[in-house]
Symmetry: C2
Amino acid sequence: MANIQEVAKEAGVSVATVSRVMNGGAVTPKTKGKVEEVIRRLKYEPSMLGRNLRNSESRLLLVLIPTISNPYYSDIINGIENAVIPQGYNILLCETDSNPERENIYFDMVRKKMADGIISMDPTVNMEELKILAEDHPIIQCSEYSVESGIPFVTIDNEEAAYRAVSHLVNIGSTDIAMINSDVTFLYARQRQLGYQRALEENGIPFDEEDVYYTNGPSFEHGQQAMRKMLTGHKEYSAVFAVSDLLAIGALKEAHQLGLRVPEDIAIAGFDKIAFSNMTNPALTTIAQPMYDMGTTSAQMLIDKINGRPVESTMMSHELIIRESTIG
Amino acid sequence: MANIQEVAKEAGVSVATVSRVMNGGAVTPKTKGKVEEVIRRLKYEPSMLGRNLRNSESRLLLVLIPTISNPYYSDIINGIENAVIPQGYNILLCETDSNPERENIYFDMVRKKMADGIISMDPTVNMEELKILAEDHPIIQCSEYSVESGIPFVTIDNEEAAYRAVSHLVNIGSTDIAMINSDVTFLYARQRQLGYQRALEENGIPFDEEDVYYTNGPSFEHGQQAMRKMLTGHKEYSAVFAVSDLLAIGALKEAHQLGLRVPEDIAIAGFDKIAFSNMTNPALTTIAQPMYDMGTTSAQMLIDKINGRPVESTMMSHELIIRESTIG
DNA sequence: ATGAAAGCGCTAACAC
DNA sequence: GTGTTAGCGCTTTCAT
């Protein structure tokens, strides 16, 4: 628990020299060796607190997500971590629970210099506040974003991806295709619905607003509810496009519960390719987003921004993964 | 971006007074009002960097987990967060990836005072290092632990829980009960195997080491592999007890893939009651650990430890959740 | 009740 | 190449 002063004194040098040894400044091999010996002997660990104050940086990056229990974020976070750690940063995973108070705690952390910047992946984020914060602090949006905010973002072409997924459902012979969508206040929900609509119309299937089943949330249970409503309704469907895997997995479970076979009686496609989409029976057809790369990219963008380098929004590629839930 | 000096100057008081206003020291209502007005006007946000250095604390707590993608940890982390945030702390979720280097980065953070303490939930943690670190720094073990380390822990009675799960399998009429276990270098794996063994023996079923199928890891795929090996072997089983839900879900998928019906042909029980254990078809019988409470408890223990208060290890309760995978 | 001043541990500009 | 010194922004005695 020694500090830099004690090391300097013990080694018979100045604190500046010790600092230089620590940070690779110009020092004689001889003094360097001597100082290093003392550091080892005294088990000296430089305090980041002093360094942080001096450099007025915390080397901490906030990653805002609505909840940690949504596996959607796992790989993105992995990508972020692997990108920032080699550059001497660490991330603070912030669960907002879509709660403005929680969110404010985290915004405060960057205002109070406990964090150097933010990667926001929270679709429920208070965009007004985020925008204001972005005036004075480095912020990047990942996955969910607002163009008008002027804050740089990383995303995929949601409309095109949904278009491909639904086109696939048409290609396997479905004509009555329902959609399970979350709240259209979210940009991705609107974009994916547009893709659904375009795929139908280009194939001569009229779009009907009644075929879209909206949920009150993003979770498994919401998917179940939507599916129950759909299957107990007056219309029959041969395929369902769900706006996320979690919703699709809920729908799948409910279909089974109501005695339907997937994909024979009804095909189901999801979106995101979360790890669990492969664990269900049948495995889920879905859209793969380049999660990991989205993570590394947004991380690098944030660090660039922190260092005053110019940053451009990025559109990443996606891929349709065809699995058992849409083809026998 | 004003600092305390500017506020003091603008308000015509000393920095000490500003500090008192911020921290609830004794100040005349009149000066207090004046200072607060200036704070608002200058949009002053006190830097935690200065405060942290001065108080030599970071108010940051590390939570060590092997990987964020294992849903097992979600609820525990939730509990931790809700316990620490009201007390002015924040947590840094640390994915070690069971990589000693990664781990060391995080250990370094507490050595370098960037974090005030650690809650370790990583079964692969380097116990030697952790023990040494615990001599100088507050550390709590949650879920996975070593008694010999002398580091306080929070856990459930794994042996008893496994005993109950396997007893349940016996009660529904199974006599040929296999176990899917992970690596017995982990304490929980050893304890749960003991429970499995005791349940068999108390019911007059001889324990056979060959009925235990060991995996090379904790994931879904490892569960699949174990199940494949089991079902393509020479022995037939009517029930399987998996040491975790993730392994059980893998086993379930593989059973389906090989044309077996669950629970009719083979019953499957898991352990942990992760969110997904309810999303499979059939839903999984499992052991519920009081995740959230384990989180809050270990968090409070850590904060107590940081504040020099005495801390006792805690054994928490568990519950057998019987669902479709073991009863038609 | 308020102010002056010391100091938390570190880095970097400047001088030698 | 090395030492001296001035802060980074804050809290907390110690005076008054």
